[in-house]
Subunit: 470 residues, 2 copies
């Protein structure tokens, strides 16, 4: 029998995420007796989640208490863990920014990039962490929403809160394995770096280097796969049926031309969200994206695929809402009774009940990844048990990966944090100028000003001032 | 009476530089009895320099011996100092690369940038330094040709030679002073950074902060100056008459729109070659350059001004050749008998004869400039005397300058050195892709391959191979 915890879930209205968490809690006997406090500003959604969670636990006979409150301090008071998935930037906000960017000549996938997403969500994260310092100073913050890299680094530097960022991206190794016909369960892997910028340093199949199998796949099947119009490649079990066919195809970029090009440049495969980023030349326009990321969608961030993603999220939320409205429906029958692959609950079980596991976490570096300053949050494997979250000091990344991928990303993060701290508008301008799609200085100024003038960015617009001699 | 030295001058065919050095040596009594060994692969030019040097010393009654040899080891054997001004990349080579780049859509001023200039000259510098390790292992190498930043860093890391890089750029503070009507002699200044990337952290006039005078000049005279078609601003004494009017105008960028824009972004003026670089948006094409750097030439690197510069160099060399052919001419009457503002000879006098001075040098950082790794060559002031070259630990540069200017430049240098060491052709490709003027991936590959296929780049072409899985 383990130790019960008090857990606060901020942004609990993210129905899919919250119900996954509830499943994992209900199926983790060690955490019996725990109390979960859901918080969201959307009270309807919040009430729905609370009811569904209670019904699910009830059906399984799990001993958990669920409460719901729109008051984040009430939710977090005396918590042992705070899981934050909140985003203040809505999909509508993001799409508005993309539309403005496109009017100024930028592609949908990349946008203009003054950093509004970063700034607004990080501001929210910092506000939460300041509240935590007052109401639950010893709690772990498990940051489960973006921007993980910038936000966790800021919080680790500026607050006294213990922060651990989580992301799904590293599971990309399973998709790579499945693509080349390997059983993901027999893979041993490692992919350290920065969040959304991780590289597969170790990829073993039954203990043997599996990279030659990747090379063989590229040689024998690459060209055929890259010229496909519809998906035919095998998918990992945990993704089958969970997406529409279109989304499946749009998301299958793990061995896309872009990913393999990065592999050729760096000698390591980029994992998860990493191939989704990469050099500007993969993203110039939809046609270019289609070449590098596959027909017909050009990967998951284009004007064709992203609306499908948002629509699908809405459809899943609607399904959950229908479930909530049907008092006779079995929640277990709908959601199943197997654990998700999310790391939040196993990490909590590790920290509280010494159920040791290895996880992919985002924590302050302090020497884990050579060549990155100590005060930067890195994404590395860590052993988690009662002693804490203990990152492995991983094998260094190749110099080329450091110089072309990791360190430029580090500088970008530092610029975002400097902008956040100083409110210097010229740093936002620099960020737009630094976008390879910017063609003239005037274009950068115009798109920046038009984006900052939008209602959702009002606080940001006020925060950022030009230098005094501008 | 000081200590005589043996001094080797590599690339001594650079007539203007070598004769300036001869002047400074002849006018530095402490160095009487010294021996100067000129080396160049152009033997005609070499013989001419030797004769002119001997005649000049003779006219002044200076006690110096001059020898000339095309054998660099002979020139450097037992030297106390080696001054290297050699460049294996000719003006013709550079212009050929620019022409190819322009055919692929790049501007003359920026080119495509695979790093051929860097690679070929650094290869030469390393060869010299390896020879020095054998024939004069205790000598100082005073590196007086580009690339100072990358080359000196490589030599400091890879060889046992003491290396100090010198550049003229820091004298830009005098031009700034003259522009706003201040006597350069009454200025106290400091401008640390990386070579060609230095920032005016201190600018005092009679001990008082002179930045308000810059602000006043910008406010009251900036617009008028920026709209001029011909130069009317005062010039420092040492540049009057030394350039044609056209060159004078082309070189006057110290308070150009670009320089002042950088000042507005960073709060510090960029000095010397620094405003000549800066963000891509100053350099997109000739019209853009004209706006930011002034009519009609658009600064010193354009298709209008650079040929004038090369032509002027050739004219000066022709003048020197005429002087050499006239046995009755007075060399002193032609060259004058005042010291130049070059730092080489005063630094030698400081190191050998304890004539202490403060100089702007490029040496391994080791803590002089905060935030830059220890094993990187920085440009900082140093006290030079018998104890050695002792850099000042300068006030840190502002975070914004570090994040947008210094550290990206550092990463670029590290990429050049990694490319040099590994021969990885994909790093050259990355450099071209990183050029903001590159519009497509295919364009980058095409311009890279066409540049490497040119005869002057044959050794480089052979050195750089694609990764094995390309």
């Amino acid at each position: 029998m383990g130790t019960a915890v008090k857990l606060a879930v901020i942004g609990a209205g993210s129905a899919v995420f919250s119900l996954g968490l509830v499943k994992d809690l209900c199926l983790t006997e060690n955490l019996a007796g725990s109390q979960v406090s859901f918080m969201d500003i959307n009270e309807d959604r919040l009430a729905m989640i609370q009811k569904l969670a209670a019904r699910y636990a009830d059906e399984l006979g799990a001993d958990l208490r669920f409460e719901a409150t729109p008051d984040r301090c009430a939710a977090m008071r005396d918590a042992d863990f705070v899981i934050n998935t909140a985003s203040v930037v809505s999909h509508e906000d993001s799409i508005l920014m993309k539309q403005i960017a496109m009017q100024h000549g930028y592609s949908y996938a990349r946008g203009a990039g003054p950093g509004d997403y970063f700034y607004r969500n990080t501001r929210l994260m910092l506000d939460f962490a300041r509240d935590m310092e007052r109401v639950c100073p010893d709690a772990w913050l498990i940051q489960s929403g973006n921007p993980v890299f910038e936000g966790c680094t800021l919080l680790a530097r500026e607050t006294s809160i213990k922060v651990c960022g989580l992301c799904h991206g590293h599971y990309g190794y399973k998709k790579i394995a499945a693509m080349i016909g390997l059983d993901p369960e027999r893979i041993t892997w490692q992919a350290p770096g920065l969040n959304h910028n991780i590289w597969l340093t170790h990829f073993l199949y039954d203990g043997q280097d599996a990279y030659p199998l990747v090379d063989e796949w590229i040689r024998s099947k690459g060209e055929e796969y890259w010229s496909l119009d519809t998906p035919t490649m095998p998918l990992p079990e945990d993704r089958k049926g969970s997406w529409t066919d279109a989304l499946t195809r749009a998301w299958d970029i793990d061995l896309s031309r872009a990913a393999v090009h990065m592999y050729r440049m760096y000698g390591l495969l980029p994992v998860g969200d990493t191939p989704r980023r990469g050099g500007w030349w993969y993203h110039s326009d939809l046609a270019t994206r289609r070449y590098w990321y596959g027909e017909p969608y050009g990967g998951q961030d284009t004007e064709l695929s992203w609306p499908l993603y948002v629509e699908n999220l809405e459809r899943r939320i609607a399904e959950i809402a229908r479930l909530a409205q049907d008092p006779k429906a079995s929640i277990v029958a709908s959601l199943g009774a197997t654990k998700t692959t999310e790391q939040q609950v196993p990490i909590i079980d590790g920290l509280m009940n010494n159920v040791e596991g290895e996880f992919q976490v985002n924590v302050l570096n302090n020497g884990a990844l050579a060549g990155v300053p100590d005060n930067v949050v890195v994404e590395v494997p860590a052993i988690v048990n009662r002693k804490g979250i203990q990152p492995l000091r991983v094998h260094p990344l190749p110099p080329k990966v450091m110089l072309e991928q990791i360190l430029p990303d580090w500088l970008g993060m530092e610029r975002q944090l400097l902008a956040f701290k100083t409110g210097d508008r010229s740093i936002l301008l620099y960020n737009v100028l630094d976008n390879h799609q910017t063609k003239t200085y005037e274009q950068a100024v115009a798109v920046l000003e038009e984006q900052l003038a939008q209602a959702p960015n009002a606080e940001m617009d006020a925060h950022f001032r030009w230098p005094s001699n501008w």
